[in-house]
């Protein structure tokens, strides 16, 4: 199975990269841009052949290393 973990800073946690990008977009004339947030995507293959097992494994990885739940949220997608 293929896993895709998307990680973002929690709403309310200052995302200075997002703010800088937003300011740059405004500078380019994209005046209507609001709420830019920067996240990261981590993809990997799993030996698990069932979706539930793969998701559980990806969740354990996210909780122990991939995301810091003090400041971040994560979202897992599993595909064959």
């Amino acid at each position: 199975m293929k896993a895709r973990v998307e990680i973002f800073l929690k709403p309310g946690v200052l995302d200075v990269q997002g703010k800088a990008i937003e300011a740059a977009l405004h500078g380019l004339g994209f005046a209507g841009v609001r709420g830019v947030r920067v996240g990261k995507v981590i993809t990997f293959d799993l030996e698990a052949t069932d979706r539930a097992g793969a998701e559980l494994e990806a969740r354990r990885m996210s909780e122990t290393l991939l995301a810091n739940q003090v400041i971040e949220t994560f979202h897992i997608e599993i595909a064959p």
Binding site: L9, V13, L14, V16, Q17, A20, T64, L65, L66, N68, V70, I71
Partner: protein, 220 residues
């Protein structure tokens, strides 16, 4: 006093810390590689030094917090041994769950490297008692992700329990409530963004960092 500095791949203040502790207190100080599973016996102080452990990949301190040596560091912390995480070491302690909160990217987005004035908020702590009547200290910061963050209830608890030990007089990085250094509830684990190891002799611009190491030696 007997001290040890943990060396992670990418640590760059490990030797500075060893020299700073030895010259400030007369302690002996060993360097311990992160892949070790045991610490030397009879330690009074364990330092997690500044630098860029594992290249700061994923998040600062995230991989270092899972190093083999960290189980021994946690065990020693539980037994009351003093643990001091400086800069990257502070990030490692937060990632390892030995201290609450996390260090975010600096609010101004820039890496900030300069001497800063600190207020000693808790002069009774195990890390500040040698400052006597001195209520300010000058130390150098050098960080891109030194912006301390914790949820408000956690910040309230830290302040209420005297766990905020150092504050910036002029906030350089957006750190919550001007926090520069905190201790855990037991008072033996400190995370500190400024570098006492870069301010332990007058020739370095400040010798105030030496008093932090001497404070730990007083208790040892």
């Amino acid at each position: 006093m007997k001290a040890a500095v943990v060396v992670f791949p990418g640590s760059n203040c490990d030797r500075d810390c060893k020299v700073a502790v030895e010259r400030s207190t007369g302690a002996t100080c060993e360097l311990v590689w992160h892949a070790e599973t045991d610490l030397p016996a009879g330690l009074d102080l364990i330092i997690l030094p500044g630098g860029f452990a594992h290249g700061d990949y994923l998040r600062c301190g995230a991989m270092a917090a899972l190093s083999p040596i960290m189980a021994a560091v946690k065990g020693a912390a539980d037994r009351g041994v003093a643990v001091l995480g400086i800069c990257n070491g502070f990030q490692v302690l937060c990632e390892a769950g030995l201290l609450p909160g996390a260090l975010l990217r600096n609010a101004g987005l820039k890496y900030v490297c300069k001497p800063v004035a600190l207020t000693i908020v808790n002069p009774q702590s195990r890390f500040t008692r040698a400052y006597a009547n001195q209520d300010e200290a000058i130390m150098t910061i050098g960080n891109g992700e030194g912006n301390y963050f914790a949820p408000d209830p956690v910040l309230d608890r830290l302040e209420g329990e005297g766990q905020v030990v150092f504050r910036y007089k002029s906030n350089p990085n957006g750190s919550a409530r001007d926090i520069a250094g905190i201790v855990n509830g037991q008072g033996n684990v400190m995370g500190l963004m400024p570098h006492p190891d870069r301010a332990f002799e007058p020739e370095l611009g400040s010798a105030d960092g030496a008093l932090l190491f001497r404070s730990i030696a007083l208790a040892a």
